[in-house]
């Protein structure tokens, strides 16, 4: 019956109730969207990290101080042992060599300076390139993968031939011709404008190398294990060599990781602001309800309702607003989050410049949705606390007279 009275009050104060319900609903929907977007950005970041850089990278210790990061003097020769060590660890999903180098790609009297990535044809990295194939197919052992941007500048398409000119390990210029296996459009504009892929073995041939590579990239089952596995590697027989540098994803992507943490702070600040605004509106609106029903409350107290009971009645009213508002917020917010999880929000170059890709997709999370909805209801109940305390403090006689 208490709930019926509370619900009756919600219905009775039509416009004011609509305002409160809308405030709760908008708050829940905005919180769902903001948290969904932040979750999506974080997920995109880690997916990009997993698909390109990995959680751990092992390369030459001299790379840190090198003026030319693509110098062929900064290679590691014992990469098979490193890869095998990582692959024997239970936390490791895969470990692969990646051979990066500077090159000039030529075709049809056009030339473009690019960074070449020598990768294994069945590589688990660069999955956004694999999924972003526009024409042809993903890398074969003899071919080259160009972005649509580069292919357009060179005026080539899948099946055409391009030449790749490098300075080989002897210091002499050298070039080889490769058929274009396919063209791609990845999630990163910078990568598309600056990179091409060939097979690791083809890169070694082109650069006139022995069995050397630039780095070994490692993907783990969980990014939180990166420090543990890296430390274990540093103390292993393979990892103690002085010429090796071992970096975790946090060391590689320090700037972006800090940026994500700043986004988290921003998200909490936005949510806090929403909560404060919503709670203020709800408090005032329910307080108006209380003062309008002051004589009714006085009558209830006169016939035996306790102060606690009266407090509970106001809280039940707040909870009614909270539940209805949260359900409406879910009804509005969840479809928005799901829609943007498949369509993405294009922030263009701005977001890309942070290394987070052009497009941010939201992420729907059922548990977070339930928590946010419960939080919305809690905000409504919290907003009604002051009104409840005010109602509770009124004396019976003042209430009956309506003179509080």
């Amino acid at each position: 019956m208490i709930w019926k009275i509370a619900w009756g009050s919600v219905v009775r104060h039509g416009r004011r109730s609509l305002l409160i319900v809308l405030v709760v609903a908008i708050s829940v929907a905005v919180m769902l969207f903001v948290t969904g977007m932040m979750d999506g950005m974080r997920q995109d970041f880690f997916e990009t990290m997993v698909t390109s850089g990995g959680h751990i990278q092992v390369d030459s210790a001299d790379t840190a101080d090198a003026l030319d990061p693509y110098s062929l003097e900064l290679l590691i020769a014992d990469w098979h042992g490193i890869r095998d060590w990582f692959q024997s660890q239970p936390e490791v999903v895969r470990a692969e060599p990646v051979l990066t180098f500077g090159a000039m790609v030529l075709a049809n009297d056009h030339n473009v300076p690019l960074v070449g990535y020598g990768v294994e044809p069945d590589t688990g990295f660069f999955s956004d390139v694999r999924s972003g194939v526009v024409s042809g197919s993903f890398l074969d052992s003899d071919g080259i993968m160009l972005s649509t941007v580069t292919a357009g500048m060179l005026d080539v398409t899948a099946g055409d031939t391009v030449s790749v000119l490098v300075e080989d390990s002897t210091g002499a210029p050298y070039y080889l011709a490769y058929p274009v296996s396919g063209t791609f459009r990845s999630d990163g504009a910078d990568f598309d404008q600056s990179a091409f892929l060939i097979s690791h073995a083809a890169a070694q041939d082109l650069l006139y190398l022995g069995d050397e590579t630039r780095e070994v990239r490692v993907v783990l089952t969980d990014e939180t294990q990166a420090s543990t596995v890296a430390d274990r590697f540093r103390t292993s027989d393979v990892g103690t060599a002085d010429h090796l540098r071992v970096r975790t994803w946090r060391e590689i992507n320090g700037g972006t990781a800090v940026l994500l943490e700043m986004f988290d702070v921003f998200m909490y600040a936005v949510n806090l602001l929403i909560v404060i605004v919503a709670a203020t509106v709800i408090t005032n609106a329910i307080l108006m309800n209380v003062f309008e029903k002051i004589e009714e409350f006085g009558m209830m107290r006169a016939i035996g309702l306790t102060r606690k009971g009266q407090f509970g009645l106001v809280l039940a009213e707040g909870a009614s607003y909270g539940v209805v508002g949260s359900l409406l917020g879910i009804a509005v917010g969840v479809p928005i989050v799901i829609w943007f999880s498949t369509h993405g929000i294009n922030f263009g170059e701005m977001m890309d410049s942070f290394g987070l890709g052009r497009e941010v997709t939201t992420r729907f999370d059922l548990e977070r949705t339930i928590v946010t909805a419960a939080f919305g209801a809690a905000v409504a109940i919290g907003g009604s606390l002051y009104a409840g305390v005010t109602a509770m403090r009124l004396s019976v006689i003042e209430s009956i007279r309506g003179s509080a």
Partner: protein
């Protein structure tokens, strides 16, 4: 046996720099089963007296005993319990809960008292029948006339089988015919079920129903008849 006992009860209200003396040393004793009216002109202290007897206001001085219990020493929660279990109220403006049906309004104090559902339902049905309003059980208060609403209020006042029913000007907002019916009903419940009634009125016509009349003037008892 005395159900209500007031000894030298005074009630003052500060009003700016002056003080309104609503009650000035009132002594009253009311026995169980009485049907007592408090009469007097407007502003004589009738409502103040009923509020103090009904434990919704406190005297400035003096003592009040209800059913042998000294009221002033009770905590707020105990006072609420006393009002819930031992006192029924009938207000001048009916004061029903607009979002509840008639039967829910009547049942509300019983819900607060924790009366088992079956027992509550049976007694509410009995009361609605007793006050002649059972056909409107599922109606809301705004669908009833003033007289019907006051009947509902009387039924609500009786639902926890109180020792005392206090009615503050129960017929003030009713036409004379309807007012007579309400007083007939209260009188019937008094004689048939031995419910003690204490009601106020400034209408001399109503006083013929009272077993005893306490006349107030300027906060003092002018006489009893």
């Amino acid at each position: 046996m005395a159900l209500i006992s007031l000894e030298q009860v005074t009630k003052d209200y500060p009003l700016g720099k002056t003080t309104i003396h609503a009650l000035r040393g009132v002594d009253i004793t009311i026995d169980e089963g009485e049907f007592t009216a408090v009469a007097g002109p407007s502003g004589c202290g009738k409502t103040t007296l009923l509020n103090i007897v009904g434990c919704i206001d406190h005297p400035t001085a003096g003592s009040v005993h209800l059913d042998g219990q000294q009221v002033e020493v009770l905590s707020d929660a105990d006072e609420a319990g006393l009002r819930l279990h031992k006192i029924g109220f009938v207000f001048q403006n009916f004061n029903l809960i607009p979002v509840l049906t008639v039967e829910e309004n009547v049942a509300f104090p019983a819900v607060l008292a924790g009366t088992p559902k079956g027992e509550r339902r049976d007694y509410v049905t009995y009361l609605l029948d007793a006050v002649g309003i059972s056909e409107y059980a599922r109606h809301r208060p705004d669908e009833l006339s003033g007289g019907q609403r006051q009947r509902v209020a009387v039924a609500r006042a009786l639902v926890n089988r109180p020792s005392l029913v206090i009615a503050d000007e129960p017929t003030a907002n009713l036409d004379s015919e309807t007012g007579d019916r309400i007083l007939d009903l209260m009188r019937t419940l008094n004689t048939r079920d031995s419910v003690t009634f204490l009601f106020s009125t400034h209408n001399p016509e109503i006083l013929r129903y009272a077993g005893r009349t306490i006349r107030l003037r300027d906060g003092r008892i002018e006489g009893t008849s």
